[in-house]
Symmetry: C2
Subunit: 345 residues, 2 copies
């Protein structure tokens, strides 16, 4: 039996990146003519076809849903996953998860593998690297073949599909307004390096609240941390050298780490510095003091994504005239705990 | 095309449990003759064969590994997963995860789905319910078909396969010895309800250390908590009514929750009560005080499991004379932090 060739094989054989192969096969102008011809010739020689089993699958349901998430360490993604699972299981679907580890290549490899007949549709949050690269060919290929796709949380306007997002900008705006209302004026933002799509929205909300209250916007009050690595020294230096009375953090891990740094330096939370984080997980509930946090309703987001996907999967394709894509917005809510108690004197 | 029938379909059609179907098809004496005949007739009618695609797969590698874990909320399983992924990715394998949610049925459904041609081998930790039921037919079916299987952490002697475990008994013994050496004598154990396999081993180590130091073994000093649900009242009542100067907890979530309860009641950690948890995760590092914890080396466990599995997958079956199964033991180490600082006065 002839073995099916994938983007990954081509990339490995020709010693180029998966992204280059993907673009070359789409005849992208970003890739040099020589490389393009070499890749196209190789693909032709080995009879490459994108997810070629998938096409025959429309009438053969697997009753499996493929989920691709950037990591399984952040509480938020695991709660979304639970929401997906609960809804899907109730409807008789199994859920398969792959983790992209924020890597573009792994996202492409996982999608290609699952699209090969294992699943009826995808639910995904984009890898950080995919967002930075701005390359969504692998998603377009899947949707063009009629495999339903729902993006959640980390989405892109470049792909036509169903989406579930939260009102990140508004949630951050409300959180900062709350800090201002309690008398705080020197409000820092702790965010991810390179501002992932979601972090950028939260930063916008932070800016809007400051502007509205005629508070200065100062880039020096923004701490950018690497997404998954520790960077304790950078954080310590940031809090040591600035006069800060409140902090908005784009996730709860950053918030709990920064609360620890501030407390070890002898300051009190919330008396000297108030904290609000995003992702209302176990860390927020168990930290000392407990952390006020924006609840993104991950389970509801997962349930919504699963409902949208299964509706698409089970729809009668012969009946419909045109494809309609929806974007649902989940409202985040601020859960107030000890880290924002009281007003600044 | 005729649709392939699975255990799940049969169970649903005949309104019996998946476990009953599985046992009936194995002609188990536990199932009544009537039910057995009905199930066997139905299976025959619809041409049921266990994972019938898998058999043809020996010469057609998928380069995918299937991982089934009980949950993705506990830090331990996510670190094992990372270890599996890192090793497997380096060797050119993708990893697919399914979550059993501690449910026997979901474990069976997930295995059946993945064994159907999606993967070359399995890495698994058993669901709590599977351990309580003591029913491992679904594992035996997979190994009998020649699909390699590696069990980790939660294993069973009833299935012949490669295994990776940690020395849970010894690790708990050493942790309790450490507490005794610092002058603690009234040492409580916080464990899971119904003692999962792993918790039982930790309890044995706890008992051994107490016995060795001629301390009384008192069932009243053992708090059993449900595995995934909150049970704050039960914990509060436990600590309110007992004289305790140290606690061993079988996971870090229990430990951090109990430290919070004890501190809110006005006692100091570690001055009045010392704490040691299992699973050296982010909660242990970020709690106040920081938690001394048994590091189970999840990444190493995952890497070891992946290495054993891939060796089995890539072995030349024609060369070998007999199947050899190995059990590797990972040594846990105690990471000491603030919650065990100093000695009892």
């Amino acid at each position: 039996m002839k073995r099916k060739i994938t983007l990954k094989h081509i990339a490995r054989e020709l010693d180029v990146s998966i992204s280059t192969v993907s673009k070359a096969l789409k005849n992208s102008e970003e890739i040099g003519q020589d490389t393009k011809e070499k890749i196209q010739a190789f693909a032709k020689l080995y009879n490459y076809r994108p997810n070629n089993i998938a096409i025959s699958l429309k009438n053969k349901r697997t009753k499996n849903i493929g989920v691709i998430i950037p990591d399984i360490v952040h509480h938020f993604f695991t709660t979304v996953f639970r929401g997906i699972e609960q809804y899907a299981n109730n409807k008789g679907y199994n859920v398969i998860v792959c983790v992209s580890d924020e890597s573009f290549d792994k996202e492409v490899i996982n999608m290609e593998m699952l699209a090969n007949g294992s699943i009826d549709g995808f639910i995904m949050a984009l890898a950080g690297e995919t967002q930075l690269k701005n390359d969504f060919n692998h998603l377009k290929e899947v949707t063009e073949q009629g495999i339903p796709l729902v993006l959640f949380d980390r989405v892109t306007e470049d792909v036509q599909c169903d989406k579930v997002i939260i009102n990140d900008e508004e949630a951050a705006y409300q959180a900062v307004k709350k800090l201002i209302a309690s008398g705080r004026r020197k409000i820092a933002l702790v965010t991810t390096e390179g501002y992932l799509n979601v972090s950028a929205k939260r930063a916008e909300g932070y800016f809007r609240a400051l502007k509205e209250h005629h508070l200065p916007i100062d880039k020096d009050m923004i701490l950018e941390l690497p997404y998954q690595k520790d960077n304790e020294k950078k954080s310590e230096e940031f809090f040591r050298n600035r006069s800060i009375d409140a902090v908005l953090c784009v996730n709860e891990i950053f918030a709990v780490k920064c609360m620890g740094i501030v407390q070890r330096s002898g300051k009190r939370v919330p008396d000297d510095i108030a904290f609000i984080g995003f992702t209302d997980g176990i860390l927020s509930r168990l930290s000392t003091p407990t952390l006020s946090s924006v609840d993104q309703h991950g389970e509801l987001m997962g349930e919504t994504a699963a409902r949208m996907l299964i509706e698409k999967i089970e729809r009668d394709h012969d009946q419909e005239e045109e494809e309609i894509f929806q974007t649902r917005i989940i409202s985040a809510t601020l859960v107030e705990r000890e880290s924002t108690l009281g007003s600044l004197k």
